[in-house]
């Protein structure tokens, strides 16, 4: 049914937009809370009707935006399994990994699509509420995490399928923002401790956030 596929695409884009916006806010907040960058560059802004910290540094912002711009097509096609924000110490060994596991319902029934169209407001405000809870959880996550050593840096990894990377390449060339296959050492951590932070289930997306932390950080 052609109508269905067109709806399908729009819907996928809407969800991808929502998720990418959320990931941007989440990444900024993680950088703030984990003190990857000095708190002076952060500024209070509003998202989902609550205050969040976003960085003012233009290059950092551009980097994060470019990253997410490349990830968006993967999310649209539901190819992105996980988006991981890795915090690494000076020797580029990961100390913390914030893992966002994302999954979207694959079977978009007609009934569901109609539901989305008619009640998109309530649906979206419900999603907003859930995302707000995520934001809150990230803000207080340092209760459960040990402090990071100084001089940390961060990077973003995406777990996806081979076929999908070929799609990504087109976007990368346009944006001049190349992605490379991650090193083994960035992906796997020694002696990780798993700390779940938050889970959310909604009609349009399911997301889980947990933190893998290295037992000894310094």
């Amino acid at each position: 049914m052609t109508t269905l596929t067109r709806q399908d695409l729009n819907f996928g884009q809407v969800v991808a937009d929502i998720l990418c916006e959320f990931l941007e806010v989440a990444i900024h907040l993680i950088l703030y809370v984990r003190e990857v960058y000095p708190s002076g560059i952060f500024q209070k802004r509003k998202k989902y009707n609550v205050p969040v910290q976003m960085s003012c540094h233009p290059e950092l912002n551009q980097y994060i935006q470019d990253t997410l711009h490349c990830v968006k097509p993967l999310i649209e096609k539901n190819d992105a399994e996980k988006v991981v924000v890795v915090i690494m110490d000076k020797e580029h060994h990961p100390v913390e990994r914030f893992v966002f596991e994302i999954s979207q319902p694959t079977l978009l029934s007609i009934r569901f699509l109609l539901l989305f169209k008619n009640h998109s407001d309530t649906l979206l405000s419900h999603v907003e509420q859930l995302l707000r809870a995520f934001i809150l959880k990230i803000s207080v996550c340092d209760a459960v995490l040990n402090n990071n050593p100084p001089g940390c840096s961060f990077t973003v990894l995406v777990h996806t399928r081979d076929a999908a990377t070929r799609n990504m390449e087109k976007v990368q060339v346009i944006k001049d923002f190349p992605w490379i296959v991650a090193d083994e050492q960035e992906v796997h951590m020694q002696e990780p401790r798993l700390i779940p932070l938050k889970t959310m289930t909604s009609d349009i997306v399911k997301m889980q956030l947990y933190v893998e932390e290295r037992a000894q950080k310094t």
Partner: protein, 444 residues
């Protein structure tokens, strides 16, 4: 039985890693806020004695604070380690209580607001059920009353401006924020309700506004409350306050205008004068006079948002009010002409209530005469001429050169009397008998 709450709080704090604020606790457990505060205090005490987990707390401190000789009431949320330091800075401490308990050390105050957001949103209609702030006469209006109030509010706006001649009735319509809570609109018409509203919202805003580190003192508890939410709650307050302010500035400016005969045709400009409302100036003035049932602090934050000219209160008795001269003087300090305009303004204001006075004004007129060579010369010059308010002209807009009024006159100005012609100084000088530009607008 009484110890159950300790376990509850323990569960929230330790197992769920929540930030437990007193407001959230009171809404969750269904207890009065004061009880919730005490619960938190006992819990903290208990845990500290056991010295088991690492707990952090924030406190709400309110009291009098001296700053450069000015005393103000300050309310702040402070972290525990800054508590003693902060308390010692205050001259008089009115209240100190536990604001929140959490496991994590908070870096900034953002999460404190987020925590309560959902709980309050769910209980929006009765979020003051457990609150300690009460006003017996604050009752939400029924929807019928609300409708009526709305209509009344809309009706006066098309009316032409009166004694505060030229002041825009409801230019605020343009600057309305896009979303307002229903209560905000109701608060606009119920002054007492608005006060309660303001208070309630103020408390909520406090936690948003306060940072763990104390900042500049506030003159009133919620002076910096969110301007958007209090926008409508204090609209009436602002109107009343403006009337008051202008009354008090009237005496001062009246001395500056000895003569009132030389009036200017462009009184309307004075209307625009109000437009560049200097918030800071109003701030200082507003402190001196208070309308009985309005919250001045709400007004302060409204100033920034509100750019309309206030509609004068029908019951403000002082007819001598010179509405805008003070502002005028501020905005055009350099030119002496404002003074003259002020004179004309004041004069016209005086007359507005009667609606019809004869005035003198300077009009650009062309005089034709025969000079010594025998040739006819046409000279344009300003001449005094008396006219009555009922005449409509677009005369002498060259005057506009002298009044550097901001060209931004809200379009809703159409209700101004003819003399409040748009100082769109682009108007060429037309003959006195020509139809005026105001002819397009309905005559008052």
């Amino acid at each position: 039985m009484d110890e159950l709450y300790l376990d509850n709080i323990d569960e929230y704090v330790n197992d769920h890693d929540k930030i437990v604020t007193y407001k959230w606790l009171s809404l969750t457990l269904g207890v009065h806020v004061n009880t919730a505060k005490q619960m938190l205090y006992h819990y903290l005490d208990h845990k500290r004695k056991e010295s088991s987990a690492q707990l952090h707390a924030t406190y709400l401190v309110s009291g009098k604070f001296e700053d450069n000789g000015q005393t103000g009431h300050k309310v702040s949320v402070v972290k525990e380690d800054q508590l003693e330091d902060f308390k010692s800075k205050m001259s008089l401490i009115v209240s100190v209580h536990v604001y929140s308990v959490q496991k994590a050390l908070l870096k900034d105050s953002g999460p404190l607001y987020s925590v309560d957001y959902d709980a309050v949103k769910d209980n929006l209609k009765n979020c003051s059920k457990y609150s300690a702030i009460r006003c017996a006469s604050a009752v939400p209006m029924s929807s019928l009353e609300l409708q009526q109030a709305r209509e009344i509010h809309r009706a006066p706006s098309p009316e032409p401006v009166n004694k505060k001649s030229g002041m825009n009735g409801d230019a605020n319509v343009a600057s309305k924020p896009s979303t307002k809570p229903q209560k905000g609109i109701m608060g606009m018409f119920a002054k007492t309700a608005s006060k309660n509203q303001g208070n309630e919202k103020d408390i909520k805003q406090e936690q948003k506004e306060e940072s763990p580190v104390v900042d500049a003192p506030k003159s009133k508890p919620a002076a910096k409350a969110n301007p958007m939410t209090n926008f409508f709650g204090s609209q009436t307050a602002k109107k009343l306050n403006k009337a008051e302010k202008e009354e008090e500035t009237a005496p001062s400016s009246s001395s500056a205008e000895p003569q009132r005969q030389s009036s200017r045709p462009e009184e309307k400009q004075e209307a625009a004068a109000v437009e560049p409302i200097k918030d800071t100036k109003k701030d200082s003035r507003s402190k001196t006079k208070r309308i009985v049932d309005s919250d001045s602090e709400e007004e302060k934050m409204d100033k920034k948002k509100r750019r309309r000219i206030k509609k004068p209160e029908p019951d403000s008795s002082d007819e001598d009010v010179i509405p805008d001269s003070p502002q005028q003087m501020e905005t055009r300090e350099s030119t002496p002409s404002p003074k003259k305009e002020v004179e004309s303004v004041s004069h016209s204001h005086q007359g507005t209530s009667e609606m019809r006075t004869r005035k003198r004004r300077r009009v650009l007129k062309a005089r034709v005469f025969v000079d010594e060579d025998g040739s006819m010369v046409t000279e344009k010059g300003y001449e005094s001429e008396s006219y009555s308010e009922t005449e409509e002209d677009v005369q002498a807009t060259k005057q506009a050169a002298k009044d550097p009024f901001p060209a931004k006159q809200p379009a809703s100005n159409k209700q101004d009397e003819k003399k409040s012609q748009k100082k769109t100084s682009a108007n060429a000088n037309k003959g006195s008998k020509q139809a005026s530009i105001m002819g397009f607008f309905p005559k008052k």
